[in-house]
């Protein structure tokens, strides 16, 4: 078959555009100099050491990890039953409820951040960490609806009916039959939701306080006053984390697919 050279060249250029900046960051993180330059000079891991020695980054990492995990768990806990109801039952106003469930995707995150700041922190006077947890849960709950919903949709209802006709209760059927069969969907939803919660800036920037700053926001604050390879090293570490999470997810999903 004839293949267009033009298309090939454009594709190569676009992929270069997509990857060159990330590769560049990675290269500059290994420099021995104290400025970001290209080509980088020498090879050292001292900027990685500096990331781990910077208390504000480590505190922010711990906060981001804990709060994102909790928010993701909360989102799945409320999202999975909702997705099941929307997939398996018919009732009046279903479309409206569906739209409502997907509305976190429609509202700009800065708007969510501002209104949650006014509501949770100013009006209810709750702890900033609680505000962060709730805000992130709202912002990622659509992953639970969408991804888990899709795997429930693709699961044959006849299996559940068979279970129930053999005398199992609806709850037993859900926990013994539905849940194991949608486990790969749940894993995907969990990991995507976690990555997005962890990386969130526009929402978390409104929900921060003294000592309560998420990692991306801490990084942004650092860049405002410093321009050194520490940020490059931290960027590489964050990329590695994403790669690791996706690799784990791929493995788990494959294993789940085999079992199911």
């Amino acid at each position: 078959m004839k293949k267009s050279k033009f298309l090939l060249i454009v594709t190569i250029l676009v992929y270069f555009f997509i990857f060159a900046p990330l590769v560049l960051i990675a290269l500059t993180s290994f420099t021995t100099e104290s400025y970001i330059g290209f080509p980088p000079v020498g090879f050292s891991l001292k900027w990685y050491a500096k990331v781990f020695a910077t208390k504000s980054f480590m505190d922010a990492f711990r906060l981001s990890a804990v709060v994102s995990l909790a928010a993701t768990a909360l989102a799945l806990l409320v999202g999975i039953p909702g997705a099941y109801a929307l997939s398996r039952y018919n009732f009046r106003g279903k479309q409206f409820i569906k739209d409502l469930f997907f509305s976190p995707n429609m509202v700009p995150q800065v708007v969510m951040g501002f209104s949650l700041f006014v509501f949770i922190i100013v009006a209810l006077k709750l702890n900033v960490r609680i505000a962060l947890l709730i805000g992130l849960a709202v912002s990622v709950v659509t992953y639970a609806f969408r991804i888990v919903g899709a795997s429930i949709d693709s699961l044959d209802f006849a299996i559940e009916e068979a279970g129930m006709s053999l005398g199992a209760t609806r709850a037993t059927v859900f926990f013994r039959i539905v849940l194991p069969n949608i486990s790969s969907g749940i894993v995907s939803a969990f990991l995507l939701a976690f990555i997005n919660a962890f990386n969130n800036v526009p929402l978390t920037i409104f929900l921060s306080g003294p000592g309560v700053v998420t990692l991306p926001v801490a990084m942004m604050n650092y860049i405002e006053y410093n321009y050194d390879p520490t940020v490059s090293a931290l960027s590489v570490l964050m990329m590695l984390m994403s790669v690791l999470i996706m690799a784990v997810s791929e493995k788990l999903v494959r294993a789940g697919g085999r079992a199911g």
Binding site: A85, F114, N199, V201, S235
Partner: protein, 278 residues
């Protein structure tokens, strides 16, 4: 009966989360902006929309989002077409590669462009060492830098939207056009592009709304002199304590978001109709 109402029980936690912590907070912020002195009035909106400073930021937000969207379509169409014609295995690799940046933090991705475009950045250093320029060019903290950063942020989304539609366009459709004498470019523009419309529309919704509401990219690449609505909300709400203005901007951003989705959905249903009648 109790058993019949299980669905309601299952919906309660999700609904509670969204109503209590999305709908209520937003209404609490936005409703008072329509009654600034206890009486129903649009005066806050009138003030905002007649202020040239605010209007400039609104204009920039729409302009940057539109240009970003157009560039993503222009770059996305040929590349997605090329990927969609690959064998399944290689196609999967290409899509996985394209989506990888989506998993990296937006701060990281904006920082990369600071390193490239800054005064001391790679492009300036390179051009000065070659002797192309004697003074560093001012590329960072411009509207152009926001566009570049936004294209960088959202091109992968456009690619995946387009590939998923183009995969289903049969090779024979285009071959028919070629055999009838159309050249490659004409057959691409007249056949592949119209058939890819659903993907272009989905991608455009995501890219436009994403650019219009992105925060770290305009902040880090545009600076204070090139604010967009999202950075303006933060400035007004958290730095200047001007909650009235922040509420008005919030309302406008929600309107823009729903308007874009509405217009593009209308467009796509129109296209579907003409396809059916043809």
């Amino acid at each position: 009966m109790k058993k019949r109402r299980i669905w309601a029980l299952l919906l309660v936690p999700g609904l509670a989360l969204i109503v209590l912590f999305l709908v209520v907070p937003i209404l609490r912020v936005i409703l008072p902006s329509f009654a600034p002195e206890g009486r129903l009035s649009l005066s806050l909106y009138k003030d905002f929309l007649t202020d040239s400073f605010y209007l400039g930021i609104l204009g920039r937000t729409v302009r940057v989002s539109l240009i970003t969207c157009l560039i993503c379509i222009v770059l996305g169409l040929p590349v997605s077409y090329y990927i969609s014609r690959m064998q399944a295995g290689r196609k999967g690799v290409m899509i996985a590669l394209a989506t990888f940046p989506l998993l990296t933090n937006t701060v990281v991705r904006a920082f990369a462009w600071i390193v490239i475009l800054g005064q001391e950045g790679i492009i300036n250093k390179l051009m000065m060492s070659v002797g192309l320029i004697s003074e560093p060019l001012r590329m960072l903290f411009t509207e152009g830098a926001i566009v570049v950063g936004s294209v960088y942020l959202f091109l992968p989304i456009m690619l995946t939207s387009l590939v998923s539609v183009m995969e289903n366009i049969g090779e024979e459709v285009q071959e028919a056009a070629l055999s009838l004498g159309a050249n490659r470019f004409v057959s691409f523009m007249r056949i592949v592009v119209p058939l890819s419309m659903p993907g272009i529309i989905v991608g455009s919704v995501l890219v436009f709304t994403g650019t219009a509401s992105a925060y770290s990219t305009p902040l880090m690449l545009g600076g204070n002199r090139n604010m967009m609505l999202s950075t303006l909300v933060y400035q007004q709400a958290m730095l200047l304590n001007n909650w009235d203005a922040a509420s008005v901007i919030s309302a406008l951003m929600i309107v823009i978001s729903y308007a874009v989705v509405g217009v593009l959905n209308g467009l796509s249903s129109k296209i579907n109709k003409t396809e059916v009648t043809q």
